[in-house]
């Protein structure tokens, strides 16, 4: 069983300048992972940078989730005996996202053969319900390099250190993170095979340096891994934008998380109009049991005042799906409202964060759910909400219909056309109920 220690403690006691550390970002086994191209192990890159700078040890990286130049991450069905996962009669096909385990095994064997094996292997982790692939990576490292200590870090082990120490064949579990915001990411660990984008944090001093370094290597796509990119009224983000906008005409920012309608300011809206911001995805903001309509209306007004045409870039809003207490009517209404506000809609399935308020409130219920089944795609609160998985899939279908872009636009409720009335009339008349013996519709 792995020993649970803080990162600080581990670094002070167990890492020396002579160490050669291999950092590993494991693959993911999941039924869907649409945003996999954005899986970048920023924690590993930052700690790698810190290790080199402060300890002076050797650091290497093996990122099994690295996308190719076009942003594509390998995906393959699991072997036949593990291909489907069943939950109460619903079958979910499962795929392996990222490079195969064998590629890691080959790398380790090759290091061993070349006598350049690491003295420590650090494996990061992201979502707790993906722990099985983390465990598999640990098992594989242990099998190939039995004498090399394995250190686990990342979100899963931070949230569930005991679970990790039991489930994974590691030596140390780093239960508490180390403050690394002021550290640049060690993107040099990718060598010549750079990923197609760099993940940043909204720390102007660091982010600007990173963007300059990336641009020098012809990397022009950036995203921010933040919970609130509009913090301090958006000033840090504006600073990053202003100091980098002239670096390269093709610099592109992808705002995929941490953008809340309630936090948008007119000044931020004005920079978002720049074509350098190629996609803007707004988080969901609530006001009690309903959507915080005022914030959405205000955010849209700011964007419109700034001159943003929703069709010119990928703009959308998230709607949570599968939270405890979901009401079907609210989900549909919210979908309409978000689509209406931002011209795009993305349903975001929910999973309780271990230890969070949702977890604690529904601890008894969640105790009956296997941890692997906490994946949002399995809708762990389905039974609690009395909304079947099939109904959640129907909601996805509805969203796909609403969101399908034709001539660059999602469904606009047939806004201002004759169809707005006619479609409603067809629905009210229930025309799908025409049967062979009632061939004529009432005029």
């Amino acid at each position: 069983m792995a020993k649970i220690v803080t990162t600080q403690t581990f670094l002070s006691r167990h890492v020396r300048a002579k160490d050669q550390i291999l950092l590993v970002n494991p693959p993911v086994e999941e039924t869907r992972y649409n945003w996999r191209r954005w899986n970048q192990p920023l924690d590993l890159l930052k700690i790698g940078s810190w290790l080199k700078a402060h300890i002076g040890c050797g650091v290497d990286l093996f990122d099994l989730m690295q996308p190719d130049k076009k942003g594509k991450v390998a995906a393959k069905w699991l072997p036949r005996d593990r291909r489907y996962y069943s939950i109460k009669g619903d079958r979910y096909p499962v795929r392996h996202f990222g490079l195969p385990y064998q590629s890691l095994a080959d790398r380790l064997v090759s290091m061993k053969t070349e006598r350049s094996e690491p003295t420590q292997v650090w494996v990061t982790s992201l979502c707790s319900y993906w722990y099985e692939s983390v465990a598999e990576v640990c098992r594989l490292v242990r099998q190939t390099l039995p004498d090399v200590p394995i250190i686990l870090l990342g979100q899963y082990v931070r949230l569930m250190p005991k679970h990790a120490s039991l489930a994974c064949a590691a030596d140390f579990v780093l239960s508490q993170p180390f403050e690394l915001r002021s550290q640049q990411g060690a993107f040099d660990l990718y060598g010549k095979n750079q990923p197609p984008f760099w993940a940043l944090q909204v720390e102007p001093e660091i982010a600007v340096k990173e963007i300059k370094s990336a641009v020098a290597q012809e990397i022009v796509d950036f995203t921010f891994f933040e919970e609130d990119i509009c913090r301090e009224n958006g000033q840090p983000l504006i600073e990053i934008y202003e100091k980098t906008r002239d670096l390269h005409e093709r610099v592109r920012f992808h705002i995929i998380c941490g953008l809340h309608p309630s936090r948008l300011t007119p000044a931020l809206a004005r920079i978002f109009v720049d074509k350098k911001f190629v996609e803007l995805h707004f988080e969901e903001d609530d006001s009690g049991a309903t959507l915080d309509i005022d914030s959405y209306g205000r955010a849209r007004a700011y964007l419109q005042e700034a001159g943003l045409e929703m069709t010119t870039k990928h703009t959308s809003g998230f709607v949570w799906l599968g939270r405890p207490g979901d009401q079907m009517e609210q989900l549909i209404l919210r979908s309409f409202q978000v689509l209406d506000a931002f011209g795009g809609l993305i349903l975001k399935p929910f999973s309780p964060t271990p230890g969070s308020e949702e977890h604690q409130t529904h601890a008894e219920y969640l105790d009956t759910v296997l941890h692997r089944e906490w994946t949002p795609h399995f809708f762990p609160f389905s039974e609690l909400n009395k909304i079947s998985r099939q109904e959640y899939h129907d909601l996805y279908r509805m969203a796909a219909f609403l969101n399908e872009r034709v001539r660059n636009k999602a469904f606009d409720f047939l806004n201002g056309t004759l169809g707005a009335q006619m479609l409603r009339k067809s629905l009210q008349r229930e025309v799908w109920k025409i049967e062979p013996n009632s061939l004529r519709l009432a005029s």
């Binding site: 279908r397 409603r424 799908w432």
Partner: protein
């Protein structure tokens, strides 16, 4: 026999706002090629629409067309250009005429070099004849441009133009294609060995009966057959195509007011290609590596017995395992009996395309669709589902016709909702009036009053928009754009299924309830909807 005569066959590019190159093989021209081979001709093919492995063809912006209008223009620069709401960009799909001209010159150069060579080199000579296929009536301009280029490079060659356009609008073709004192002949009157015909340009209407039973001459696509065009990145490969087209019957005994099948086939008789010959073609091509076969018929199943014999042979032939059969054109739904569907599935048909057109009985009657009705549609639908074809995943698809003069737009919406809910996949078909059809004649005065030539009648250009304003005063381009977009959106799938607007589940029910209620004053549930003209009818 005339062993020395040579013919260059050209399938022209397409000028249109959209084009789907999935089944773009010029099957009529390739059948004529087979026929000319029997007459001893030396042949060469330039297929301007030859698709690459992704089944796409290159496209180049050509001009901007104003919808429901004769106006068009070319912008100073295409860079950053965007069209207005009542305009569409017309593209040249495939090899444009200026590139074609280069290829023609290359053929000419090689022919002349060979002629001057001391060695006996087998090279395609400067052609005696150029055969050009011309399909849609509203694409006629590319035929004209191809003729111009051919004439310039090969001034001594005579031109033959055949296909749907010269069949439906021969006078138009005689006057507008730039032909020199052309003859107008029916396909059955063509005689390549007739000295008079050999020296005249010819507009050919209808089919050449002797060519109908012949297999397509796909060999012209092989390196030593076509030779052109030059291979560029993403350009077509030099070998047999990945699919071929089969026509086992022609003609239709019915007379829908918008359909030209009767004119194309010189009456209502149905001609059938003998199944054994088609089967031999399938076997031979399959052995050569072609796995996909697409039936192009005026009305599949009208030659039912012959067709069934053919697919029975295919289904029972173990050597044809893995064959994929397609029938994306018309199919006679009333003849989709259980045993027919079962055999079609066994043979390799993966999808069905139902010509639903409309659920409105009055519209059906108005269009003289007397042979079909909803009962027959349901019969076909039930039989396909019973056989194992799945709803909502594009196994089964419905064509929906719209953009017609005097159409009932509410009936179109009814049809969309019905088809989407009951079948799950809808294919929008914007109506194009076809010369020589009853509907064309009925609305000729409107067409003439607008000054429309055939290219303006392309359904995608909404030729009856102004006409339909007589019924719907404020009808605009947006109304049609919204309607067509709705149809595409309804096909969006998750876990291989599209959303069921008429579903009985809670999601569909609440969707309908909320969507419908947002239109009622005082019932709006979201303040967000208040500051936009959402769901307002002008």
């Amino acid at each position: 026999m005339n062993p020395t005569r040579s013919a260059l066959l050209v399938s022209p590019p397409v000028y249109d706002t959209q084009y789907w190159a999935h089944w773009s093989l010029p099957y009529g021209l390739l059948r004529v090629a087979a026929w000319l081979q029997t007459k001893g001709y030396m042949l060469k093919l330039i297929d301007c629409m030859e698709a690459n492995k992704r089944r796409t063809v290159p496209r180049k912006s050509r001009k901007v067309r104003k919808l429901c209008s004769t106006d068009s223009y070319t912008p100073d620069s295409w860079q950053g250009f965007s069209v207005a709401e009542d305009e569409k960009v017309e593209f040249c799909f495939g090899i444009p005429p200026e590139i074609l001209k280069k290829q023609l010159k290359e053929i000419q150069k090689k022919a002349r070099e060979a002629q001057e060579s001391l060695f006996d080199i087998q090279v395609f000579p400067e052609p005696d004849e150029v055969w050009i296929s011309s399909i849609m009536t509203y694409w006629w301009e590319s035929t004209r441009d191809v003729i111009t280029e051919c004439r310039e490079v090969f001034p001594n060659a005579v031109i033959r133009v055949g296909g749907i356009y010269p069949t439906l609008a021969p006078e138009h073709a005689m006057e507008n294609l730039g032909l020199q004192k052309p003859l107008h002949l029916q396909g059955r009157e063509l005689d390549p060995l007739d000295p008079e015909q050999q020296h005249r340009d010819i507009v050919v209407s209808a089919t050449i009966p002797d060519a109908n039973p012949l297999p397509l001459c796909l060999e012209l696509y092989q390196e030593d057959g076509a030779g052109e065009p030059e291979l560029e990145e993403g350009a077509p490969r030099k070998g047999l195509p990945e699919y071929t087209i089969l026509t086992t019957s022609r003609g239709c005994p019915f007379k829908c007011s918008y359909c030209a099948a009767n004119v194309l086939n010189e009456g209502r008789k149905v001609w059938v290609r003998e199944y054994n010959s088609a089967y031999e073609e399938v076997k031979r091509r399959f052995q050569q590596g072609i796995k996909e076969f697409c039936f192009y018929e005026d009305n599949l199943l009208l030659g039912k017995n012959n067709f069934l014999e053919l697919i029975r042979l295919i289904a029972e032939d173990p050597d044809l395992k893995g064959i994929k059969l397609h029938a994306p054109e018309g199919i006679e739904v009333r003849l989709l009996h259980p045993h027919v569907v079962q055999l079609m599935r066994k043979a390799g048909f993966g999808r069905f395309y139902f010509p639903l057109e409309t659920v409105n009985a009055n519209m059906q009657k108005k269009w003289d669709r007397t042979h079909t009705n909803m009962e027959k549609f349901f019969y076909a639908l039930q039989n396909t589902v019973d056989t194992g074809y799945r709803l909502r995943c594009q196994d089964l698809n419905c064509f929906i016709l719209f953009g017609l003069p005097d159409e009932d737009l509410q009936a179109v919406y009814d049809t969309v909702v019905f088809a989407s809910s009951r079948v799950g996949s809808v294919i929008p078909m914007l109506f194009t009036p076809v010369p020589n059809t009853p509907i064309f004649e009925n609305y000729r005065s409107y067409i003439e009053s607008k000054g429309f030539d055939l290219q303006h009648l392309n359904g995608k250009l909404l030729p009856f928009l102004d006409y339909n304003r007589r019924k719907y005063k404020d009808l605009s381009v947006r109304d049609y754009t919204a309607l067509e977009s709705l149809m595409w959106r309804l096909n969006a799938k998750v876990r291989q299924e599209s959303f069921d607007l008429g579903g009985t589940g809670r999601v569909a029910s609440m969707f309908r309830e909320i969507f419908v209620s947002t239109d009622r004053p005082g019932m709006r549930r979201s303040p967000l909807f208040l500051d936009t003209p959402n769901a307002e009818v002008r």
